[in-house]
């Protein structure tokens, strides 16, 4: 962006076998100085579709976005559904790298990608607009089928909680949510990236083998019992089971159970959606067969929000004690519109509530602050919009649930210890999706490990983090992992699809090696950025404050946590 120039380059030979997170992390680690300022000219923002994106493989429409994170200071990859990954892949785009900063920071730009290449244009019409309105404007300007990646007002203001919004098939919003990548895009003065539809198809080395493998793979996903529950109740089905296990962080992480859990549960959400004529099942990208998203209508039966996820509902519900699903839905919509992470921001509100900025349970005030303070960039809005750690510092609070500056999501690490290992050791700050130990600690998927015991948790988290890094490179939704952990046909069919796509002969061991390599590349970037093993720790209050109902504490030693990297 420094010279407002574009270029198209051939993919280096050594990167040909990479996609998604594997490619974004490799490019960031190779081309970005680890000690650079995340919002300065040396950072680069990288988008990459997965290895299978653009094919007919079920659930392969995830787009990875990577950079050095302004929230954590670590390397970051965040992925989302929507239509962009498949559109990039069909245009033959392996990755889009945005580098430099415009000299004149008063001007904003858009990038447009099509069969003829990529162009940079000055942009003014959509500046300051929320994502919902901006997408409608771009549909009118460029056609309904245009793909869109955009930042909202939070990204324009470079808040550390800002995300990147991805247009979905219904012209609504999915998000590369975590780590403040919207602030990086805002720092480069890119308001949006538009992607032209094309009739091109992704080439397959062996179409018959691909079709056969996809059939086996799709059957494995569809026949797993969790798929059915995800479609009916959405991810919010987790509220009641995590509450029952005593792992639902409540009132800024001071209890493991929330008295109002039924009001915000997946069961209540399902009944409310049906009663109001919404859609309990909805796919976030074409080709998804799980359909865990939904359309949630308001009391007048009009669209309010979609992609209404467990973590968001937990954070506003249990952590901020808001037991009204309509208030939570309103806040979710505003956050999507502002383009701000719906995990980081509500956890920041929980810390602000402890500080007395507003009362626990006051959903209306949360919505007001989102609109009038964060949306307008007031000093309070910027403190909250910069995340939970920012609020803790500004108000002198010590119970701040973050690792490497990123908010801990919806599972208490004291009573579900496997996920605590993931929070502590993840290369990207606290993030449940990096190694979802909940599957084995709570849900009985991939075996069973006692959530309250330390035994086996380091190894579990390590294996899950390695597998996740590989899955994140394929363009697959992480929810294929439930079938992959339980159905022996699932993973081989996924590997068969990759082989049939590229005409290669990957084995399961190669995929494990890929996951290990990605983790090591990311870890080495963080070490070079100044992180040490001392950063792979949870905040000290988890050791000091037992949590009800199990009176559990965080009791891993430093040596045990450091052994995570023994591979």
């Amino acid at each position: 962006m420094s010279k407002l120039q574009t270029s198209i380059e051939d993919v280096p030979e050594q990167w040909m076998g990479l996609g998604g997170r594997g490619l974004t992390s490799t490019i960031v680690a190779t081309e970005v100085e680890p000690t650079c300022h995340p919002l300065g000219r040396r950072n680069k923002l990288v988008f990459a579709p997965g290895l299978l994106s653009g094919t007919t493989a079920a659930n392969s429409g995830r787009l990875s976005c990577g950079a050095k994170s302004p929230l954590t200071g670590t390397i970051k990859e965040s992925n989302a559904g929507g239509t962009s990954a498949q559109m990039f892949a069909k245009l033959g785009v392996k990755a889009l790298i945005i580098e430099g900063l415009p000299e004149d920071t008063s001007k904003w730009y858009s990038l447009h990608i099509g069969e003829l290449g990529i162009t940079i244009r000055e942009e003014s019409e959509t500046l300051g607009k929320g994502n919902y309105e901006a997408i409608q404007m771009l549909n009118a300007r460029l056609g309904e089928k245009i793909g869109v990646l955009a930042v909202g007002p939070a990204g324009e203001m470079q808040m550390s909680g800002a995300n990147i919004s991805v247009k979905d098939p219904g012209s609504r919003i999915r998000s590369c949510g975590r780590g403040g990548l919207g602030a990086v895009m805002g720092s480069k003065r890119v308001k949006f990236i538009s992607i032209e539809p094309t009739k091109n198809k992704v080439a397959l080395a062996d179409a018959d083998a691909f079709r056969a493998a996809n059939k086996v793979f799709t059957n494995a996903i569809l026949s797993h019992p969790i798929t059915e529950g995800l479609a009916q109740y959405g991810t919010d089905v987790l509220v009641n089971i995590i509450n029952e296990a005593g792992g639902l962080p409540t009132r800024n992480f001071t209890s493991g159970q929330f008295a109002g859990h039924e009001a915000i549960s997946g069961e209540t959400m399902h009944d409310t959606i049906v009663e109001r004529g919404g859609q309990p099942k909805h796919n976030c990208h074409p080709g998804c067969v799980i359909r865990c998203s939904q359309i949630y209508n308001d009391i007048k039966n009009e669209y309010k929000t979609s992609g209404f996820e467990y973590e968001t509902i937990w954070a506003l519900g249990a952590d901020c004690c808001i037991d009204d699903l309509d208030d939570v839905a309103e806040a979710d919509r505003i956050m999507d519109d502002l383009g701000i992470d719906s995990i980081e921001t509500p956890v920041a509100f929980g810390v602000a509530m402890e500080a007395g900025v507003l009362e626990f349970g006051d959903g209306k005030e949360v919505c007001r602050i989102l609109r009038e303070e964060i949306g307008k960039g007031t000093p309070l809005g910027r403190i909250i919009g910069n995340g939970a750690a920012s609020v803790g510092k500004a108000f002198g609070i010590t119970r701040v649930p973050v690792v490497k500056g990123q908010a801990i999501p919806a599972y208490d690490p004291r009573s579900i210890k496997g996920i605590g290992v993931t929070y502590a050791t993840s290369t990207q700050g606290a993030d449940h999706t990096m190694g979802y130990a909940i599957a084995t600690n709570i849900l009985g998927v991939g075996g069973s490990v006692d959530p309250l015991s330390k035994d086996g948790q380091i190894e579990l988290s390590r294996n899950l983090q390695i597998a996740t890094a590989a899955i994140d490179s394929t363009g697959m939704c992480l929810f294929i992992a439930f079938a992959a952990l339980d159905d022996e046909k699932c993973l081989p069919s996924l590997i068969d699809m990759i082989n049939a796509r590229f005409g290669i002969t990957l084995t399961a061991d190669d995929v494990t090696s890929l996951g290990m390599n990605i983790l090591k590349i990311e870890h080495n970037f963080n070490l070079a950025a100044g992180f040490t093993n001392k950063d792979d720790r949870l905040p000290e209050f988890f050791k000091d404050e037992p949590i009800a109902p199990h009176n559990a504490i965080w009791d891993f030693s430093d040596e045990e946590l450091d052994s995570f990297w023994n591979f």
């Binding site: 797993h224 019992p225 969790i226 529950g229 995800l230 009916q232 109740y233 959405g234 991810t235 919010d236 089905v237 987790l238 009641n240 089971i241 029952e244 296990a245 005593g246 039924e262 997946g266 069961e267 865990c292 467990y310 973590e311 449940h432 999706t433 979802y436 909940i438 599957a439 709570i442 849900l443 009985g444 998927v445 069973s448 006692d450 959530p451 309250l452 992480l478 929810f479 439930f482 109902p549 199990h550």
Partner: protein
């Protein structure tokens, strides 16, 4: 003896959310599952007093028994 039984997700359909029930000594979780006409093969997770348990576990007076189908998210 009195036991509180909680059901979740699809297991609530045509049954209940939470109910105080009376059982004889020696009743196991799987006995309760069968009594409620739930297919044990469809049960994903069972808990007693907020701890995971085996379906064969014997319940005690005043226990809270939670029965879930296979569910997931994240």
């Amino acid at each position: 003896m009195q036991v509180t039984v909680k059901l979740f997700a699809s297991f609530r359909d045509n049954r209940f959310r939470e109910k105080g029930m009376s059982f004889s000594e020696g009743t196991t979780v799987i006995d309760i599952i069968r009594l409620l006409e739930i297919n044990p093969a469809e049960v994903g997770v069972t808990m007693i007093n907020f701890r995971h348990c085996q379906q064969e576990q014997v319940v005690a007076a005043d226990d809270i028994v939670a029965i879930f189908p296979m569910i997931g998210g994240g």
